[in-house]
């Protein structure tokens, strides 16, 4: 039982934080939002820092690091509201190295590691809400490999990505496929999202696809759990910054002749924000530490984490806005962007009620970190 970071992890954190502070300030963030919410050059900078390679196995040109390293990185990216979806590099490397045939791994993992290929999870369907086993996309065998027909929504940077991980039904069973954006029959229509990022509707019409695994549900669950752990860490970074912004503001802003930080009604709100932040940080650690556990324990742990994070994100975001007063609801102020980021994250990879249902369904007689 040890929650200290290694020296390497501290150095990794410092390196990412330096890049965020110097290279990804609010002005650049704004510029990227205005330009559509995704910038390939910025993603390239993440790759130069070695972050796209972080969790790719060394045999495929990666750094072979683990969930805690990814967590450290995501916290820092959250602090800077980085829009480029690095979490999907972690998802793709994790799922491909755990489930894909060797040839597919050899074809894609080195390119994911180098940042040359952005592979994103294209999972959301209109009727599925947050249920991973609900999927209408269809796959069929073809002369060479398979074809997939699907409509997937809110696919991160979907019109900029190079390939998609696509769950689809194959012979009545959920399987996972890799489909290139350049494939015949694949079209993507991009749009902005509430957090300033980018997503797309991805339409696949008999698009050529490569099978990742026929055990699609297990792979998809692993993908989403990896995504949840990354999201939890990112959210901790966002909330850490949100609390810091609020504290700064309260010590500067004067009303009735004194700093509003002197008002007890507001101070207690800040204490509650700190509570939510530290509970969230604790559960973010838990999420990443449990990623390697057997699937049933892992699923329960990640749902528990998402319930805590969902509550924390909503509280911290809403209170940040409230404690800022009018400035908190302006587009000009950075805080409102953090609030929108937190809001979007609550509804990504399953919202609080969905995961509460998961926890509820999986509850045992005993409970605890070690039970």
């Amino acid at each position: 039982m040890d929650f200290d970071f290694s020296d390497d992890q501290e150095q990794l954190r410092d390196a990412v934080r330096r890049w965020v502070d110097k290279g990804y300030g609010f002005e650049r963030h704004r510029a990227i939002v205005a330009a559509g919410g995704f910038e390939r050059a910025a993603y390239g900078e993440l790759a130069e820092l070695g972050l796209t390679a972080l969790t790719v196995p060394e045999a495929h040109g990666g750094l072979g690091q683990g969930a805690i390293d990814a967590m450290v990185v995501m916290e820092e990216l959250g602090r800077g509201m980085v829009l480029e979806p690095l979490a999907h590099a972690f998802i793709a490397s994790c799922v491909l190295s755990a489930h894909a045939p060797a040839a597919l791994q050899a074809a894609w993992l080195p390119r994911i590691a180098s940042g040359e290929a952005l592979v994103v999870l294209a999972q959301q369907e209109r009727k599925a809400r947050y249920h991973l086993d609900k999927c209408e996309a269809k796959a069929a065998p073809a002369q060479a490999g398979y074809t997939v027909t699907a409509t997937k929504s809110i696919v991160p940077a979907g019109d900029m990505a190079d390939a998609y991980l696509v769950p689809a039904q194959l012979d009545g069973q959920l399987a996972l496929f890799l489909v290139e954006r350049s494939a015949v029959g694949a079209t993507a229509q991009g749009y902005g999202t509430q957090d300033g990022g980018r997503a797309a509707e991805v339409l696949l019409q008999n698009a050529p696809a490569t099978l990742v695994t026929q055990d699609g549900l297990a792979a998809l669950e692993l993908a989403v759990d990896t995504g949840i752990a990354a999201l939890c860490a990112e959210a901790v970074g966002v909330m850490d910054k949100s609390v810091a912004l609020t504290v700064d503001y309260m010590n500067q802003r004067k009303q009735f002749g004194v700093a509003i930080a002197s008002f007890q009604a507001l101070r207690h709100r800040v204490a509650d924000m700190k509570m939510q932040l530290e509970l969230a940080r604790s559960m973010s650690y838990y999420a990443s530490l449990m990623l390697g556990a057997p699937a049933s324990e892992r699923r329960m742990a990640l749902s528990r984490a998402k319930v805590q994070l969902g509550q924390s994100m909503r509280y911290v975001g809403q209170q940040m806005v409230q404690l800022h007063g009018g400035i908190g609801v302006t587009d000009e102020y950075i805080g409102s962007h953090y609030f929108k980021k937190l809001t979007q994250m609550e509804m990504t990879f399953g919202d609080t009620l969905h995961h509460l249902g998961e926890v509820s369904a999986r509850m045992q007689d005993t409970a605890g970190v070690f039970a």
């Binding site: 101070r267 700190k274 838990y286 409970a367």
Partner: protein
């Protein structure tokens, strides 16, 4: 980072578990698991069993006869005791006053008082709160006047937990009115059998007498019972409070009570009621999150890195969780939590509890009783002030 305890810590846990299983009397754990009334004999009996093993002093360093356990070992010990259904260790002697006597007492005081605390023979009470002092501890008014080789103590303490059983009492008393309120306070050990001491139980909303008023009318206390220096008592009191660390979260007992809540929900046919079950799930998430927070504090203590100054958060969240499980237990029984039949809270009662489930008898009482948790030990509002101070300055 690693979630698992080390093999040594695991082995330690197994050792404690086996020992507790072998030595905790079944009739006592039955009462604890079902929130039935514990007698003084139950509480002190378990203390003496622990004392004999040398574990009542589980937080003490080796030089004073304690086991010298690490923060993690102490946590594991407390967890195993809680999950097994052991009564909580009455903290006033071994956990609260003993560290003060060790740190600031004379050798003679240590030799006189520590053995009785370590064995569980002597029941100690806490004399901090006074009428009107609330969470403002430094407003102590009970006076101690030095006359020759004695202090003459006059005044009143209140909320003295289980003071009706108390034999000795540690007190904050005012020995000077000069300077700030904190500077004129002294730390006195007082024999509760002394003439002029009156203990009057306070009946609480659950019908129980868990706390007391203690009156001092010209009580004579020999000066050799003063700890450290006169007027420095506030420093010692703060030292004492700094020893209430992660256990203020009480997460181990909450884990046990969550198990009990699930049993109650099943008995009451609510396990498949989605609305109710989701409330249990929310509580479960809260408890796991609190446990992770506690483990982070322990890890920081172990490594000396990333120290976490979050005692206030542990107290707030821990107490809210205690209130919530009690509330859900009561709501689970619903109307069958309403009969107030005091005998049904005694072990072995053979009567017919309305609805037929005697386990429902103490649920409302526990709910009422645990409203105290957000009030005592520095109310949660005071805790929020402290947390806000660390965050906002």
């Amino acid at each position: 980072m690693d979630l698992a305890f080390t093999p040594e810590e695991q082995a330690f846990r197994e050792e404690v578990r086996a020992w507790v299983r072998a030595h905790l009397p079944a009739e006592i754990s039955h009462k604890v698991h079902n929130a039935l009334r514990l007698t003084r004999a139950d509480m002190q009996g378990w203390a003496k069993i622990l004392g004999k093993k040398g574990w009542l002093t589980f937080g003490w360093p080796k030089e004073f006869g304690g086991p010298g356990w690490s923060a993690v070992q102490k946590h594991l010990f407390e967890e195993e005791c809680a999950l097994a259904g052991a009564p909580r260790i009455i903290p006033f002697g071994p956990v609260m006053v003993a560290p003060v006597i060790m740190a600031f007492g004379t050798k003679a005081q240590q030799e006189r008082f520590l053995p009785g605390i370590a064995s569980g023979e002597v029941w100690w009470s806490q004399g901090y709160s006074e009428p009107g002092s609330g969470s403002d501890l430094a407003s102590v008014k009970t006076r101690a006047e030095r006359v020759g080789d004695k202090y003459i103590v006059n005044g009143q303490k209140t909320w003295t937990t289980l003071g009706q059983y108390g034999e000795w009492m540690f007190n904050l008393v005012r020995t000077s009115n000069e300077g700030k309120p904190q500077t004129g306070i002294s730390f006195l050990l007082l024999d509760m059998k002394s003439p002029g001491v009156t203990v009057r139980p306070i009946k609480l909303l659950d019908g129980e007498c868990e706390v007391n008023e203690v009156f001092f009318d010209n009580v004579e206390v020999p000066v050799e019972n003063l700890i450290g220096e006169e007027n420095k008592g506030w420093t010692y009191a703060k030292h004492l409070l700094s020893h209430e660390r992660t256990n203020i979260a009480d997460v181990n007992r909450s884990k046990r009570e969550l198990e009990r809540l699930k049993r109650i929900a099943k008995t009451e046919g609510l396990w498949d009621d989605q609305r109710f079950r989701d409330q249990i799930a929310l509580l479960e998430v809260d408890i796991v999150a609190l446990e992770m927070l506690v483990l982070r504090v322990l890890s920081a203590e172990k490594s000396g890195k990333n120290s976490l100054d979050i005692a206030g958060l542990l107290k707030i969240k821990g107490s809210e969780i205690q209130q919530r499980y009690a509330e859900l237990m009561m709501l689970a029984a619903g109307p069958f939590a309403l009969p107030f039949i005091e005998e049904a809270m005694e072990a072995g009662w053979q009567g017919n509890f309305p609805g037929g489930v005697t386990a429902n008898a103490p649920l409302a009482s526990t709910y009422f009783n645990l409203r105290k948790t957000t009030i005592y030990g520095g109310s949660n509002e005071v805790q929020r002030n402290i947390v806000a101070q660390t965050v906002l300055g």
